[in-house]
Point group: C2
Chain length 176, copies 2
Amino acid sequence: MRQITVLLAAVVALAGVIACMAPASGQADEGAAPIFVKEIPPGYRDWRLISVAHEEGNLNDIRAILGNDAAIAAYREGKLPFPDGTIIARIAWSYVPSEENNKVFGRRQSFVPGSPPDWYLQFMVKDSKKYAATGGWGFAQFNKDGKPADEAKLKTCFPCHEPVKARDFVFTRYAP
Amino acid sequence: MRQITVLLAAVVALAGVIACMAPASGQADEGAAPIFVKEIPPGYRDWRLISVAHEEGNLNDIRAILGNDAAIAAYREGKLPFPDGTIIARIAWSYVPSEENNKVFGRRQSFVPGSPPDWYLQFMVKDSKKYAATGGWGFAQFNKDGKPADEAKLKTCFPCHEPVKARDFVFTRYAP
């Protein structure tokens, strides 16, 4: 019994060491693999509005971009780069006509959020040290079950944002 | 000197009585003229998001609908009617293609807020006694100078909202 206890303790200790090592694996080298955000920042749905947009094409969504306090403050001050601690959330819904509104308006004019697409939730989290490999931003995408996208998908985020380097890699402008 | 003082006091008192009477002028009668909201509720730009929409046609805008705490709570609880104290804000911007985004995406797909239209800001304020003539809601519209729309314009709000009586006269549904 005692030997099993000692063995179990050793296994637990080893697992603990490995778990603590894994997140740090990308930090020491400049050429290390990028690190992505794997957990949904809590409370994002209560954050304030940065802007809205409609994307046609493959996406065909209507979206809101929300920001935590650091994001909103930075936008309103007009200061770049965004400070560490900034988090920007993008929530997307499918872009659908509102039949009930159109009945009232008497014409087909009203487009509103429908059900969310599979990968409806994205974030950019600023930590210039931790996410140095991707411009200081940790990219994240989650599906309707709260599951994070795999790294193959997340690796496509930063290359698309690189052309906006002059605005600290953020496409969205503040809508006052 | 004493007579002038007495006269001034009487004038001030009379002005005070008139000022207190004017807002109440529509409350006593059921058939009274509707009352509209003439001041922008403070802090509305910091309220939380209810939903987004795009309106084609004459409006051609993209919009965000924000709500104060009472509005957000009522939406999330799914309870109707909205309680007194609910305020819903609609901010509209012109609907414009984003040339800078489209350059990056390689196609014309991105539509974002442009400059606001003249009457960009609307509110619905719930007070079932004060605004009884218009379903319990005080309607409001403001232009870019913060000036309220005239009553001729505001009188068109409620008749358009009447068809949504079953949802307490509110078109917008909550986007989770």
